[in-house]
């Protein structure tokens, strides 16, 4: 069935999002490499992201914190030190000023923590009902210090993640209307540049980095495997997933591999350097849970596979889009 309208799934970070980019945006704008940030003149990285998270206050953060972290992290994934951010706001008529003040304070605090300056911005107001409270857009510029990219991953590389998966998605979902459940899980939303920097200066040869946001770890490994033309093998027993996240996923019929993270980085480094990366990350507060979760091989070319707990294998598929609670 060909789509003649945008579906929610087009924003899910999975197959439909990719289709939209590949079939409409990339050809229109001549976009070639689809990385987290664009590298300009080999020196600067430039990225942008919009934030429409609902609700805008969630356990562990808010839309403001997310808006800074998301863009800072996209620069960090490109091996660029984040420096300057722009901030565009679309506010809904009727938004309580107290909420806006809290969010602005959060943006200020997160920017300070991340070492970036907000240098320019814009504000628009739309009629009641035309956006849900507020939408934000941040664009960021950073200075490239390392040559990393999704096409640089090679057979023999190790796959490392800095901690527990699925926390942000579960935290946000728990506050969504109609899917009411309470959880102690809080969003892992955090600015990752200093963690990434510690890995970069460790002397390890790092080939690529990605933050597994929409579409989760599954989307990340599928993207990298395809971009580098390698096979990525994940070890199910090594995936760090807390009992709370597992419980929430069991309740709703969701797969933790498909759930968004906002404070995690997946590092692809030369296999023999895994130890160095782990040491560097574990010395950092955001990397205490760092561990090797998989390896890169030649085959199956362009695909990601999971070695299951019982010793079997299954494909890690690109998620289709929205993760909905299911009963099947």
């Amino acid at each position: 069935m060909k789509h003649d309208r945008i579906l929610l799934a087009h924003g899910g970070g999975g197959t439909l999002t990719h289709e939209l980019i590949e079939q409409l945006f990339a050809p229109a704008f001549g976009l070639k490499e689809l990385e987290d940030s664009a590298v300009l003149d080999d020196k600067l990285a430039f990225t942008t992201d919009s934030y429409v998270v609902k609700p805008y206050f969630f356990p562990g953060g808010d839309i403001g914190k997310l808006a800074v972290c998301g863009t800072v992290n996209d620069l960090a994934m490109q091996g660029a030190e984040p420096l300057w951010l722009s901030l565009g706001m679309i506010l809904e008529e009727g938004l309580p000023l107290a909420d806006l003040e809290k969010i602005v304070a959060s943006i200020k605090a997160t920017a300070a923590e991340a070492g970036v300056t907000i240098v320019t911005g814009d504000t628009k107001v739309v009629e009641r009902g035309k956006c849900e409270g507020l939408y934000l857009n941040t664009a960021g510029i950073g200075r490239v210090v390392a040559d990393v990219g999704s096409t640089h991953v090679r057979p023999g590389d190790a796959v490392i993640v800095n901690g527990n998966l699925g926390e942000h998605g579960v935290a946000v979902l728990s506050r969504r209307e109609g899917i009411a459940f309470q959880t102690s899980v809080i969003s892992d939303c955090a600015p990752l540049w200093s963690l990434v920097q510690s890995a970069l200066v460790s002397g390890a040869e790092i080939h690529a980095m990605r933050d597994p946001t929409r579409g989760g770890l599954a989307a990340t490994v599928c993207d990298i495997a395809a971009a580098s033309g390698v096979g990525i093998w994940l070890q199910e027993s090594a995936l760090p997933i807390s009992a709370e996240v597992r419980g929430a996923c069991d309740l709703l019929g969701l797969d933790p591999l498909n759930i968004a993270n906002e404070g995690k980085v997946v590092v692809f480094c030369r296999g023999t350097d895994a130890g160095r990366v782990l040491d560097a990350m574990r010395a950092h507060p955001l990397g205490r849970g760092a561990r090797v979760i998989g390896e890169v091989t030649e085959k199956p070319k362009g695909m990601a596979v999971l070695r299951t707990a019982i010793g079997g294998e299954r494909i890690v598929d690109m998620p289709t889009g929205e993760d909905l609670p299911r009963i099947c």
Partner: protein, 353 residues
């Protein structure tokens, strides 16, 4: 893990010949595919999927009816997440939502009833699909609506039951089944007694199975042991949850609110007495009375019927993965996240090195 696989290998050797076991329930299909169990089984043990995926066997005409309701002003259609992407003849609930219809995913039918109470000026319709596991929850909700006089709530019912469908498969000459991996949670409600007729009338072993990979492996050992020992019986692997008689309160609710009816299974056809219909006493909460079901034709070349009966495996269908994919599903087996084709595509479609 190795111990379980060793026991499977041992029993498979005792049996010697090739055997085919059918997992009826879609959730078992998923468990098998997700764990990669299929490739770890001995060469003479084959697993095929059956029609126990309620989304897969929901007729196109039902989706079309749900869409018709969604297009009516003042109607909120509530559904389990599983149905949102299922294609009808021309559209799907997901597309209707994009076009402006009020379609909402809920976790429980009780949430749909709550929505009706909160929106007295709207008509809330709940899409009731699922087998005996889900039927009592919907029955409870209909009864509550009736008791509390919530008149703006109704259910479009497409519930189905397992035993007549399983029997239809056994009578089908094309399908060769040497044992059933019986649905675990259906059996929580009905009790394992539901399957007695299978060993008694057809001499086929049945084991009621849980949903962890370890459960499925144990279940296969038990089925093989029956065959090797020339016994046939209904055994329970999933003893944590299942007993002989099931849940009496749930069974009573089903009997109170629903009655047996013939049901059309997408890809298979009409199986007599295999469906549940809302009783006349609850007619005012039956959305089926206010909408017409139109006949629909399957996609030419679609072999879902054969896949659902276990006669064909997904990769053997000419359309599989070439034309028919999860983002562009042509038939029910690819539509549901639990369908045999969807599970195969998602987890097993390329033989990993």
């Amino acid at each position: 893990m190795n111990e379980a696989l060793n026991r499977i290998a041992e029993q498979a050797r005792r049996v010697g010949r090739n055997v085919t076991f059918m997992e009826v329930c879609g959730t078992h299909t998923m468990a098998v595919s997700r764990s990669g169990l299929r490739q770890l089984l001995p060469a003479n043990v084959k697993l095929i999927s059956g029609p126990g995926c309620p989304v897969c066997v929901t007729d196109t005409s039902y989706i079309d009816a749900a869409i018709e309701l969604a297009r009516r002003p003042g109607v909120i259609v509530t559904t389990f997440g599983d149905l949102i992407r299922v294609p009808g003849s021309e559209s799907s609930l997901e597309r209707e939502r994009a076009a402006g219809a009020d379609v909402r995913v809920v976790y429980s039918p009780a949430d749909a009833l709550a929505l009706a109470r909160e929106n007295p000026d709207k008509q809330v319709v709940f899409l009731g699909v699922g087998f005996e596991t889900t039927a009592p929850t919907v029955a409870w909700t209909i009864k509550k609506a009736a008791q509390d006089g919530v008149m703006n709530f109704s259910v479009l019912c497409a519930h189905k039951t397992m035993p007549f469908a399983m029997e239809a498969l056994l009578k089908d000459q094309e399908v060769k089944i040497d044992g059933f991996i019986c649905p675990g949670h259906v059996s929580v409600i009905t009790g394992a007694q539901l399957y007695r007729f299978i060993p008694e009338r057809y001499g086929i072993p049945c084991v009621v199975c849980g949903f962890e990979a370890v459960d499925v492996m144990k279940c296969i050992v038990m089925l093989l042991a029956q065959i090797a020992g020339k016994r046939t019986a209904v055994e329970i692997e999933y003893s944590r949850s299942v007993n002989e008689t099931g849940n009496p309160a749930a069974q009573q609710l089903i009997a109170e609110v629903f009655e047996e009816s013939d049901a059309g299974w997408r890809g298979i056809g009409v199986i007599p007495r295999s469906g549940l219909a809302i009783r006349k006493e609850f007619a005012r909460w039956d959305a089926g009375r206010s909408v017409t079901f139109r006949e629909s034709k399957p996609h030419p070349g679609c072999r879902c019927g054969d896949v659902l009966r276990g006669v064909l495996t997904p990769p053997d269908c000419k359309l599989f993965a070439k034309v028919c994919t999860p983002t562009n599903p042509l038939g029910p087996c690819m539509v549901s996240s639990e369908g045999a084709c969807a599970a195969f595509y998602k987890y097993e479609r390329k033989a990993a090195v």
